[in-house]
Amino acid sequence: MTEKFLTRMGDGERVSLTAAEIREDLEAGNQDAADRGKIPALSADEIDQLFAIVTDPNRITGVKPGNEVITTDDGGPNMIVCDKPDGGVGLPMGYHNAVLAFERLCCADTIGVGHYDYSCKPVKSLINYEKQRYYMYSQAVTAPLIYGTQPNLGVYFKPDGPFPNATELIPEGKIEEGQRAQEAAAEALTEDLIYIAKELYSAGCDGFNFDTCASAGDADFYASLKAVEAIKKIAPDMAIEMGMASEFILGMHSEIEYQGKRLAGMYPTKQVKVVEAAGADIFGMAVNVNTSESFPWNLARAVTFLKATVKVASIPVHPNVGMGVCGVPMLEVPPIDCVTRASKALVEIGKADGL
């Protein structure tokens, strides 16, 4: 009887695959990334390494001693106190205690804090509360404290925001109106991001995380890049991490450019270069999981993208390793077998500078 190995699908379902099936999926994921990103595929040796990681007989795995990396966090304390829709566990404790628990119980390298409604637009109106919170936590923790928020251009469109809704205009064939609406919304978003960062900087903010950049497409990405450019001038000692929403920039606008480069259609090797040009300090690559494909397929795809991105990057690259990204199945409680395998592969083969 052919030996089968326990692994999972992208939606977390446990499956048993033969060695041949796993290798086929590793190659297919690898090739998919190489074709789409126009980047080198992983070598045969690297596929063998991936195979060994995926088929490790133990429940969990880890990097070899000496290969450890740090993590930049995007809301660990939020997970402790928030509710299910935010992937949280709803512990009835104050946020301050959650921050300290994350630092000391979870041994966090960095601590990400943010507003419960983790988008930029709601933060602006209660910025003083956020400054108070940041300052108080900052006095108590030793690890670097990073304030995170999602640019989230989508909430600037009607009915949530003041601007005409591009997702309604475009299907009606009103392409130019849709583009103008996105440009106007992007300008407002850039302004808000700069305002928030400047205020937090005055409270001593050491790091700012732009979380899920480009979630609403190229105009969203553009707004974030322009904001980073401005923030680096007014807050030179505040590190900025730009974490992406996807490996591919959706062309909702399709013609918007940053420093002469069209943003629509960019994959991570190009994304990192505009992020560097804007002045960000860390690039948080994201590769979305295809829930219909296997974990080996998704992992190989993520590692292929990562390896090529690290090679061209002059700043540290920290791939996002949460549910539904960089190989980790799309589950609210990500399975530890996949999380540890993905972490090992991204660090030892992809050469991530952190996670």
Binding site: I70, R104, Q139, T142, A239, I282
Partner: protein, 87 residues
Amino acid sequence: MQLTRRMKIDEAKKYVAAKLGISVLDLSNEEVMCQVREDLDIGVISGPAVATKGVAARCRIAKLLDISIHSVNVFKEKLNAPLTPAA
């Protein structure tokens, strides 16, 4: 080192290890690092009650690693601001 100087992981580890006077391998050796952190008083997960923590620990880390940490600078500014009320 990644946040303040954009160092890639290998360079960052070499830098910190050199500043601490230990090997790169020992950076993730709990036995070594707990002692190093306690000896340097730069914050340790389960340290004694009066061990330095928080922004004070970060002040020491900034000095040790020879880096500028913004929250430390803001703290020192407040600490050293004159007591005379503004006119």
